[in-house]
Every structure is written in structure tokens, then in C-alpha cells.
């Protein structure tokens, strides 16, 4: 007990260490204002890519859905109409939904896809107040035609894709007017705030 009570040297040493650390470089990344560069193949929010002519890559084959270990993907395929093709092949995805709350971001869908249509992007800011908002349908997964065709993982130079800012628009966390009906595709609907009072 004497040793513990009179160990003044240890206390002084401890004080020295804390004082030194006061001036040390802090590893904190101040997240909302400073964003970390993720690895190019970071597994984040999915994206459905297009071909250079604007057609969708997805052919509605459902391979991603069968590969998914979390049963997060639901694809409903449909025939392409010969005069208004959605994708170059015979079929396209009439409905394509990923439940990001089920998804474990393993990337197996990306591996399975024969046309490299579904890819995981480094976008990770998906938080929302509504459960339904995590079911991403084609209106949010598909790259808008005016934004480009989407980048495959190997072509992302520094992790964050150039259009990372798009997430904020895609997500619309607070603005209920711009929210989404979870299972609706096509035009955007007002969210029904199911399960919440009022």
C-alpha cells in the first residue's frame, strides 16, 4: 500500500504525458464538414448504371436477387417493347427495389450482375427518419440520365464519386414534400408517414 500511496513519480509522469498530448496532432475527422476519402471499392449505397446511349444496363435477370444473402433485392422483369426499349436486351427491370436496411453491403449483387448494372458506390449518408425511405426503388437507384452513366468501382479514382452531393437530393431526409412512397416507382409521391402520429 505504501507503494501506491507514495508513487508521486508515476503521477508526475502521467501529468507529463497528458500535457504532451494536449499539443499532439488530433486524428479527428470533423465529419459533416470534412469528409473522409473512402477506398474506391467502398461498399455503400447502390446505383443502377446506364449505357452511353442512355439505355439501362439492367436486363431484369434477377441474378443479383438470387445472389443476395440478405434477400434485400426484389426485381420484377418485363419484356422490352420493340419501339421503346428501356434496355438493349430482350427484357428490362420493370421494378427494382433494394431494402437498404436488410442489405449487408457485401457486394455479391455487384459480382453476380452479368451486365455490370448494379454497383455499390462509396455513398454512405443514407440516414432517414422513416423506415420506408430505406427501400430504394428505381427512381433513386438509377443514375439520372443528365448525371451520366455511373462509374464502375475500378474507375473511381479517389473513392468519392464526383456526384456525391446527389445523395442529399436523392435522400430528402427532412422535407416530407419531397419524400418518397417507398414502393412506388415512376413519379415521386408524397410520403405517407406510416406508423407515426399525425
Amino acid at each position: 500500500m505504501r507503494k501506491q500511496l507514495f508513487n508521486v513519480g508515476a503521477i508526475l509522469q502521467g501529468l507529463g504525458i497528458t500535457f504532451k498530448y494536449m499539443f499532439a496532432r488530433r486524428p479527428t475527422i470533423e465529419y459533416p464538414s470534412v469528409k473522409k476519402q473512402h477506398a474506391p471499392r467502398f461498399h455503400g449505397l447502390h446505383e443502377l448504371r446506364r449505357y452511353a446511349d442512355g439505355k439501362e444496363r439492367c436486363i431484369g435477370c434477377e441474378l443479383c436477387s438470387s445472389a443476395c444473402p440478405a434477400n434485400a433485392i426484389t426485381v420484377i422483369g418485363a419484356e422490352n417493347a420493340p419501339d421503346a426499349r428501356v434496355s438493349p436486351g430482350e427484357r428490362h427491370a420493370a421494378s427494382y427495389e433494394i431494402d437498404e436496411l436488410r442489405c449487408i453491403f457485401c457486394g455479391l449483387c455487384e459480382e453476380a450482375c452479368p451486365t455490370d448494372a448494379i454497383v455499390l458506390t462509396p455513398r454512405f449518408e443514407m440516414a432517414d427518419y422513416r423506415r420506408g425511405a430505406f427501400v430504394y426503388s428505381k427512381d433513386r437507384l438509377l443514375v439520372p440520365s443528365d448525371v451520366g452513366v455511373g462509374t464502375p468501382p475500378d474507375e473511381r479514382p479517389n473513392g468519392i464519386p464526383a456526384d456525391l452531393g446527389r445523395v442529399a437530393e436523392v435522400k430528402s431526409t427532412m422535407n416530407v414534400d419531397r419524400g418518397y412512397s417507398a414502393t412506388h416507382r415512376g413519379e415521386v409521391l408524397k410520403t405517407e408517414r406510416k406508423g407515426l402520429a399525425g
Binding site: 501529468l15 497528458t18 498530448y21 479527428t28
Partner: protein
């Protein structure tokens, strides 16, 4: 009368502002020492954090446990708060040219008043813990009482050494007696004892057995919420400021300038000394783990008290021989 009121109001404002920023800087300094940036989101450099905290505490629900004794439960935070502020009635912060102190009241038994008031402060803790009617606060309160008694003894003894050297109990008189040499040199032992007991008196790490988050949740204030919790919180920091002020007054020469550097006014030196002390307490908190309870008691009774007594006897002999 009016002047005293105005003085008190100004002083209250100063003390509360100091509390708010002491808290902010404590969080900053602890953050830096732990390789974190500390609060920096509210306002530039986090400077508006205290205001945000105050708003949060005011808006919190005020809960009273069913088993609590309502009257005492509500009274306890105010005992803590009032005694914490009452000390500032006699603390001098500087002196005019003619030697009259900058204080609300210049009591000639200043140090006795101080000891009396700081002993009442523990009632806030013990009553609050006891009246909460649950286990952890009770344990915290019991610890608080025992700790206060054991450490206040050594603390008072360390005061007495200073009193004997200065030959007065007036705080202004003690500061004036330190014009040539500050008392932390002849009273080195007393100074060390005071610094240790002051940490225990204010219930701060490594002597924060009274709160002991890891074992007692929040100790005596476990059940308190909102502004009542805030009162305890303010009291803790104001007490910290008080013990820093006393340390500078009794041992570090108060507003006397060191090395004859009199171009800065005395109040600046005083503030610097108090600030250094506050920093030291924050530094300790970021460094040391909590004492075990039996060791705290052993340390208080078997180490501090004998040393303090020895110091007292030696000082008395020295004063008698001169």
C-alpha cells in the same frame, strides 16, 4: 447598501460567466489531452456551448422520484448553490492604492467565515443524496460526508500554518503579509496538503468518490435532472473557482506581482494565478483515475492528517522562536 447590491450583482455575473467558460475550457482541455477536439460546434470555436447547455438544462423535465422527500429533495441543490456563491461575499480580488480591498465585505475573520461556509456546502450533497430515496445517491451522500470530514480537517490545519505566519485571519491581511515572500515557500508542505485536500473538497477526480459515474451512476445527483442537476453542477465549478481563489490568496500572494513585475495591475496577476490553478485541476482530472474508497480514507487520516499536524507544530515552533 445600493453599492453593495450592485457589487454583488456584478460579482455574481462574473462568477457565473467564469463558471460557464471554465466548464467549456475543461471540456476543451480534457478533449485535447485525450486527442479529441472538444466541443467546437456551437458558435465559433464552440464559444456558445455554455449557452446551449444552459438552454438544454432549462428545457429538461424536472423529475422527482416517488420515494424522495420532496421538500428536502428540492432544497438540497439550493443549499449547494447558495453556499458556493456566499463565499464570494468576502473574497478580495485586488486592492486599491490605499490598501482597501476589492471585495464586497472585508471581514476580519475572513478565513473562519470561509471554512464555515464551505462546511455547510456538504449539506447540499448529503441532504440531496439522502432525500432522493434511492440507493446510489445515498451511497454517494455517505461517501461525501465522510470524505468532507476527513479532508476538511487537514485543510483547516494547512490554513492554520498560514494564519500563524501572517498573524491575521483577514484575507486582505494575509495577502499583504505576503508582499516579500509568498507563503507557498515557507509553507511548502501546507501548500501541497491544501492542493490535495482542495481537490477532495470540490469532489473532483481523483477524489470524486461522491459522484463516481462508474460505480454510483452519478452519486448524490443520480436522481436529479434539469435545473436542479444544473445547480449541483454550477456549485461544483464555483467551488472549484473558490478553492483556486483561496489557493492564490493564501499561498501564492494573491494580487502581489511576482519578481517585482508591477507594471501589470494586481487583478491580472490574481486572475492568472486562479486560472493556473483551475487548469491544474482540469489537468489532474484528465490524468488520474479515481481513488479506491478505503485508500481515500487511509490517505486522508493516516497520511495527510499527520503531515499537516507536523507542519503545524513546526510552523508554531518557528514562529515562537522568531
Amino acid at each position: 447598501m445600493l453599492i453593495v447590491l450592485v457589487k454583488s450583482a456584478v460579482l455574481l455575473l462574473v462568477v457565473i460567466t467564469t463558471f460557464a467558460y471554465a466548464m467549456l475550457f475543461e471540456r476543451k482541455i480534457m478533449g485535447w489531452m485525450q486527442l479529441r477536439p472538444g466541443p467546437n460546434r456551437v458558435g465559433p470555436w464552440g464559444l456558445l456551448q455554455p449557452a446551449a447547455d444552459a438552454a438544454k438544462l432549462i428545457l429538461k423535465e424536472d423529475l422527482t422520484p416517488k420515494t424522495a422527500d420532496p421538500l428536502i429533495y428540492r432544497l438540497a441543490p439550493f443549499i449547494s448553490l447558495l453556499t458556493a456563491f456566499a463565499v464570494y461575499a468576502i473574497v478580495p480580488f485586488g486592492a486599491n492604492g490605499d490598501g482597501s480591498p476589492w471585495a464586497i465585505g472585508d471581514v476580519n475573520a475572513g478565513i473562519l467565515f470561509l471554512m464555515a461556509i464551505s462546511s455547510i456546502g456538504v449539506y447540499g450533497i448529503s441532504l440531496g443524496g439522502w432525500a432522493s430515496g434511492s440507493k446510489f445517491p445515498l451511497l454517494g451522500a455517505v461517501r461525501g460526508t465522510a470524505q468532507m470530514i476527513s479532508y476538511e480537517l487537514s485543510m483547516s490545519l494547512s490554513f492554520v500554518g498560514v494564519l500563524m505566519l501572517a498573524g491575521t485571519t483577514s484575507l486582505t491581511g494575509i495577502v499583504n503579509a505576503q508582499e516579500r515572500v509568498w507563503f507557498f515557500i515557507p509553507q511548502a508542505l501546507g501548500f501541497i496538503i491544501y492542493v490535495i485536500t482542495a481537490v477532495a473538497e470540490t469532489n473532483r477526480t481523483p477524489f470524486d468518490l461522491v459522484e463516481a459515474e462508474t460505480e454510483l451512476v452519478g452519486g448524490f445527483h443520480t436522481e436529479y435532472s434539469g435545473l436542479r442537476f444544473g445547480s449541483f453542477f454550477i456549485a461544483e465549478y464555483v467551488n472549484m473557482l473558490t478553492v483556486s481563489c483561496i489557493a492564490s490568496l493564501l499561498f501564492l500572494g494573491g494580487w502581489n506581482a511576482p519578481f517585482g513585475l508591477t507594471m501589470l495591475p494586481g487583478i491580472v496577476w490574481f486572475v492568472l494565478k486562479v486560472g493556473a490553478f483551475m487548469f491544474f485541476y482540469m489537468w489532474l482530472r484528465a490524468t488520474l483515475p479515481r481513488f479506491r474508497y478505503d485508500r481515500l480514507m487511509t490517505f486522508g487520516w493516516k497520511v495527510l492528517l499527520p503531515i499537516a499536524t507536523l507542519n503545524l507544530v513546526a510552523t508554531a515552533a518557528w514562529v515562537a522562536l522568531h
